[in-house]
């Protein structure tokens, strides 16, 4: 259970992370603000409370793993990694620039803390299954966490991985579904209806928890609940708001993959209590 003090800490951290996201994407004039902001609170909870990791020793064999399958949300991940101490915060502004370690989508070979190269949607959950399987073979205590997008769930490979995780009883796997209801072309339910998602994951043999993905108490409770689930993987369907934290980006599909212009970036930063 998260204490009030911890929740305060995480809430403040999330504001810092959201500022990084806006600055990075504005500076690059390229990137995905919407899905980065919707994923922020879950990543903050993981990296600053729940993950067993050592930022100064990224290869620590017993660390928990996190795979960002929805690789376009990587600005949020870069921000939490930098805030955790994996690399200098100044480097955040190299996002998407030539010679940068901060590629447009995660590159595990370039940047410490990135566990898997992702970006082609649908593949990261299978990669996470492979890591969880390795943990089982080696009888390791580490857990594997992953995040998939809702639009990403339209990919067939997600359901191949869903079957695998159930078949091999990967109870060391906790997956978040960033359910923000929007994808590039519009509302997920108009593009390719996903509901009833809970029933689908349950039918695939997963333990399913539905939460508000911006409520730290609910995020924390879901993670702790997943630790106690035996014999099956856990899916946390996290209801989120695309663009969360910046009023004019919230639920605005045009900010899926579009950077803010100067005026928008300044407005966003003002809302986040800082200047650009």
């Amino acid at each position: 259970m998260l204490t009030d003090e911890e929740i305060k800490f995480l809430t403040e951290k999330a504001i810092v992370v959201r500022r990084h996201i806006i600055r990075m994407i504005y500076n690059a004039q390229s990137g995905h603000p919407g899905g980065s902001l919707s994923a922020t609170d879950i990543l903050v909870a993981l990296y600053f409370k729940y993950l067993r990791h050592r930022p100064t020793d990224p290869g620590w064999a017993d660390r928990d793993r996190f795979v960002l399958s929805k690789g376009h949300g990587v600005p949020a991940l870069y921000a939490v990694l930098a805030e955790s101490g994996y690399f200098p915060k100044e480097e955040l502004l190299t996002l998407r620039k030539i010679n940068s370690r901060l590629q447009g989508h995660p590159d595990a070979r370039k940047l410490p803390g990135i566990e898997a190269s992702t970006g082609s949607l649908g593949q990261g959950l299978s990669v996470a299954c492979g890591m969880a399987l390795a943990g089982k073979i080696d009888k390791k205590e580490y857990r594997v966490y992953a995040m998939i997008g809702d639009g990403e769930s339209e990919s067939g490979q997600i359901w191949e991985a869903a079957m695998t995780a159930h078949h091999y009883k990967l109870d060391n796997l906790t997956v978040f579904l960033d359910r923000n209801n929007l994808q590039i072309d519009g509302c997920t339910e108009n593009i390719m209806c996903l509901e009833p998602l809970k029933n689908k994951w349950e039918a695939f043999g997963w333990h399913v928890i539905e939460i508000n993905g911006h409520d730290y108490r609910e995020i924390g409770k879901a993670i702790e609940e997943s630790w106690g689930v035996k014999g099956k993987p856990t899916m946390v369907i996290a209801k989120t708001v695309k663009g969360k934290g910046v009023s004019f980006m919230e639920n605005n599909v045009s900010f899926h993959g579009k950077p803010p212009n100067k005026e928008e970036a300044e407005r966003a930063m003002k809302e986040l209590g800082d200047t650009l």
Binding site: S117, S126, G130, M131, A134, T164
Partner: protein
């Protein structure tokens, strides 16, 4: 060459079992074809390190990536058509981009898969894999070479693709030295060079014999490492003979013939005549008549070799 035929797939499966005893980090994955690919042998010996993921080749490749990230050495098998075609994006993005030590050993490559026809044949796999950064590509010509390659790729620093055909092949390389990336000179000759790979190496040797009857001395080279390709040996052959005939059970446009032509055109331009599958899909049929129908024969090789020697007289 002794004409005792042996199965490459059996050699693969048995070698995996041998390796599995010593190397505990080896894990094996298959997609519902383990009895055909022979990974079932490993599955029987080490069930705790064998994973059949069902008919889900994309998932197969990405799971292998996850295992490789975690320090395992995955050997992944299915038919070549699925391993390279269906899962191309996963091989590219999950495995090759992060340069992971995944070993894809694909069976049933080429035309000679049996009666299944074009849907199960794969004559573009070398081209698909050759186009990708980081991955090394192997194409053994017999069972002993399959064993050598499998043993040698365990610790190869990046991803690996090994191409096996379905049919048993005559033993050619028993007792010969094998080195990754080094072409083998099987027969010396001074007029023309035949460069072959995989199932067509024995046909190349037969063609060389036949060419003797026409007064032509043909050198025969076996290329078992398609990538990185042995530039030195190919250039030496281009320099020392009147031209090159390439032979492969693969489309000529992106496979061995294309690779040799690229090397020669940059380093020592000479004739490269290609024997292989033309720009077409295959069809059902028995292996020998199929190869013949698509021009993969001793006669084709002889004809092309003769044409080079004629022009350069």
């Amino acid at each position: 060459m002794n004409w005792k035929k042996e199965s490459l797939r059996d050699a693969y499966g048995k070698t995996l079992v041998e390796l599995g005893k010593e190397r505990k980090e080896i894990v094996v994955l298959d997609a519902d074809l383990s009895s055909s690919t022979k990974t079932a042998l490993f599955g029987k010996a080490f069930p705790e390190r064998f994973f059949n993921v069902g008919i889900a080749e994309q998932n197969l490749m990405s799971i292998a990536a996850g295992l490789a990230y975690s320090g395992k050495i995955p050997f992944v098998s299915t038919f070549a058509v699925f391993a390279t075609g269906r899962a191309y994006d996963q091989v590219r993005q999950s495995i090759c981009y992060p340069n992971l030590k995944v070993r894809i050993v694909a069976t049933h490559a080429g035309l000679t898969v049996g009666g299944d026809g074009a849907s199960h044949q794969m004559c573009e796999d070398l081209g698909l894999m050759r186009s990708m950064p980081n991955i090394a590509i192997f194409s053994p010509c017999d069972a002993p070479q399959t064993r050598e390659i499998i043993k040698n790729v365990v610790d190869y620093p990046g991803p690996v693709y090994v191409r096996l055909v379905r049919q048993d092949l005559p033993t050619i390389t028993e007792g010969q030295d094998f080195r990754v990336g080094e072409a083998q000179v099987l027969l010396d000759g001074s007029d023309v060079t035949i460069i072959a790979t995989g199932s067509m190496v024995s046909t190349a040797l037969q063609a060389s014999n036949e060419l003797k009857n026409h007064g032509i001395s043909a050198r025969v080279i076996n290329i078992h490492t398609i990538k990185p390709i042995d530039i030195k040996t190919i250039v030496k052959c281009a320099r020392e003979t009147k031209g090159i005939v390439t032979v492969e059970e693969h489309t000529v446009s992106t496979g061995l013939g294309a690779a040799v032509a690229e090397v020669v055109s940059e380093h020592y331009p000479t004739f490269v005549k290609r024997v292989g599958v033309p720009d077409t899909f295959g069809e059902s049929g028995e292996p020998e008549p199929l190869l013949k129908k698509y021009g993969l024969s001793v006669e084709s090789i002889v004809r092309k070799a003769k044409s080079i020697v004629e022009v350069k007289k």
